[in-house]
Symmetry: C2
Subunit: 547 residues, 2 copies
Amino acid sequence: MLPKGLLHPDMLQHRNVFKKLTQKATDFGTKPYHLKELIQQPDRFSDFSLKTQNFFLDFSRQRIDQEVFEELILLAEETKACQSFSDMTTGKIVNTTEKRAALHTGARNFSDNPLKIGDLDVNSEINRVNREIKAFSSDVHQGKIKGSTGKAFTQAVVIGIGGSYLGCEFAFEALRQTMDPKIMIHFLPNVDIDNFNSVIKKIDPETCLWIVISKSYTTTETMANLAQAQLFLDTHGLSCKDHLVTVTAQKSPGDNPSNPVLAAFHMFDFIGGRFSVTSAVGGVPLSLAFGFDYFERFLKGCHAMDTHALSAPQSQNIPLVAALISIWNTFFLNYSAMAVIPYSSGLSKLPAHVQQLYMESLGKQTSSDGQFLTRPAGTIIFGEPGTNAQHSFFQLAHQGPAFPIEFIGIVNPAYDGESAKSKGVTNHQELWANMIAQSLGLAIGKEDKIPAKYFPGNRPSSLILIHDLTPESIGNLLSFYEARTVFEGFILGINSFDQFGVELGKVMATDIRKEIELKNQTPDHGFDHLEETKKFYLETLFQGSLE
Amino acid sequence: MLPKGLLHPDMLQHRNVFKKLTQKATDFGTKPYHLKELIQQPDRFSDFSLKTQNFFLDFSRQRIDQEVFEELILLAEETKACQSFSDMTTGKIVNTTEKRAALHTGARNFSDNPLKIGDLDVNSEINRVNREIKAFSSDVHQGKIKGSTGKAFTQAVVIGIGGSYLGCEFAFEALRQTMDPKIMIHFLPNVDIDNFNSVIKKIDPETCLWIVISKSYTTTETMANLAQAQLFLDTHGLSCKDHLVTVTAQKSPGDNPSNPVLAAFHMFDFIGGRFSVTSAVGGVPLSLAFGFDYFERFLKGCHAMDTHALSAPQSQNIPLVAALISIWNTFFLNYSAMAVIPYSSGLSKLPAHVQQLYMESLGKQTSSDGQFLTRPAGTIIFGEPGTNAQHSFFQLAHQGPAFPIEFIGIVNPAYDGESAKSKGVTNHQELWANMIAQSLGLAIGKEDKIPAKYFPGNRPSSLILIHDLTPESIGNLLSFYEARTVFEGFILGINSFDQFGVELGKVMATDIRKEIELKNQTPDHGFDHLEETKKFYLETLFQGSLE
């Protein structure tokens, strides 16, 4: 039987931990619990920070005390979060609606423990694909594999959207800080033809690889962009069999020998899109960009955090504690959004990746056993790099409606060239001075008789440190966010691995597409039979004008 | 006397319109007010959509009815929003805390009406700067102005942050869809040295201009990056007087003949950072990128919307109506965030620009006359382009906690080359099919006996259409968001033009910077006198390790 989570309808009235936390949340509305008081408590910083190897989480400026922390750990205990996490990594069916395992941790499993789903030997499948990626990327780098006109490849365009895009882009942007790409990667997620337009302006057709990523090989946007790519290759006298690579499920239309491509790499239904960066989805582009060895170091960084998440005691388990704090903030203190603010321009795509990972996994209304939750789960995630964010929306963060913030700092920047000092400090030191100041300032606030200059404080934040932007550190960070998300799902009692909420839009778009197709085929086709909204938009689209 | 806005403490109990809207918000929690019912009402679409020239706002899927709409218009009336807007455009002191006008509309004022602030002839100052920009950018394009080594300029790096960055980046990314840049623009906002690192990898020092944008010429991040740029130029044997351009206030340190630069363009204290895209802040980079004529067409697009905002009757005034709906959603229906989803990859930077514009302008706790508001103003703005967003966080949008969405569609894409069809439709048609489907699906929802497949609907959205990505249309859009923001500020009764909430962080960063500077000067300097949080972070920074 599935453990029942915090938001399961059966649990609300009966669970002591729920009542206790609700009571504590009321206490926290009172003055003695203001963060400026809490952070004065002896040993506050050491009690509420955790470290594993090169990863550090400081949650001492969250609105918690020892009692809340203990209750939260009890909540993890009662909802069997660690057991569920362990079940997940051994291939149990945790994606209950789709009857699938969720084995992203298996994509970077360097242990010798056999990992099976039914008859399928997961390790051997993963290793096979990785060997193929290694050989292929090496052959491309050495110029053994070339384009139709005999030129070596220098760029690649990744066609993929959502889970086949955002995580890979995040990792690419981060990793290129520490190594110049051998193959430059461009991304073509959006079905917008202007996305295609801006990509083809940047590439040389003869030296460009196209990587199409889609598990089913039926994703509408991806197939539409594939059609553009095929036309583009044709127009330039180039062929798919020399320029196109697929990352797709075995036996999908993209893995069909009657549609010859340069190479096809497999992805598996036991790894979901938003968790797939460490599978071939990230493996092919990142190995082409930086070499397979670099990608493998990234996998090792993920594995290190996976191991921590699996083995650390609950109260010292970094992603688990982060998940519990998120639950406390969302369901007890009632914050409705969280900002992710990396103080690193190399992590500029982290907020978008975490936004997808978190909101698509946890934005749910039903429990794992298919009942309506007592309230919808999930919260809004947004963010921009600091210090940019300070000059953009931190006015509201300090004096508008409050929201929790997760700061991410990098101990060592990638740049190691000559550097000027300004006001007596380096740029990196200035960056840190700001990061520390913001986290403290939000918590403490400032008294002032002039209302416009008064800072209420009591605004919670965590601060995460990673060592640098090496593949190991980026792997640590990626796995941390994956583990934090699934821990939160397990505690809430929801399925973090499905996404039925995206189906309605697809169905409705199909109906509208059919109308457009009819009009394309038969210019006389009118839209008078449609309700006025659809009619207006379709007429405007075909008219090409608002006049 | 200033009009008292919705959140002014004097107004809460006494205003009928407030009571009426509060009552209506309660009604809207009941079934007959579900959006799937509301949108069935006769003439719903035509009653709740507005058009001016090539700009269209459909708010028929907002949770309003005729009565709410009328009350909202009454609210605008009572708070004298249009009068305040008009006062703003004539140079009255609307930035009450800083005793300044807010004359961004004056930056694109093509009328002959004289515009004065005290003795200052605003039109003549703006025209002077624009003539200088036109001459300078033309000379650069014609190769009359060259770098130190005699080569023509091909790229520029913009050093500026917040208001000196985001709006300009938005406009640059949008406008480059319809014209290839003559001068490629790179942005260096972040004090992170890795931002500098990634920029210098992209440029050729001899053909690169550096544009430093800072009103005071003291912004910490900008000065730190200027120091890096100066060192970089020195290292390459190049000089600031040939490669560096400033956009700054008259007589700031960046406008000082004893620091010779290639050119200096003035900005004025009557235009605030986040409203400054149409001043020299955007004018210099955008004219270098696309030519002054293109920039001027952008100004004309802004002016057209300014004119509409100034002259349209309240119930037909597009930015005013959008502002009222935002207030209804935030303060009566209690939504805590709004997504901005452009269905155009060329508008990918629009959400970040609107996020800054809105959250820094409206994230306030005090009224224009300096009293605490009845509740903090402002809401969180976030977004990504569609269809990308559908594959990222729309799971939560459909089935998690609800938030309003503003969709933006482009009638005609920029790309006009050969294009393949997929499933019988072009990419642009597919994009529109999805945009229409999402907006309708969120409103209507879908019944299903299986909870995971049930869509509650009743999720409000607006849909904005602009004609295309030409400078005129982008100008329309920019001015729409500016006007919507300031209308909302006037109705709430707050000052949209100051940002005291960013001061605390600056002060605290200064204290921390001093500690770092001391340690840089005297390696023996320790941090034991600091409280444990600061001590830990500063020690970690200097140690360069988490071990």
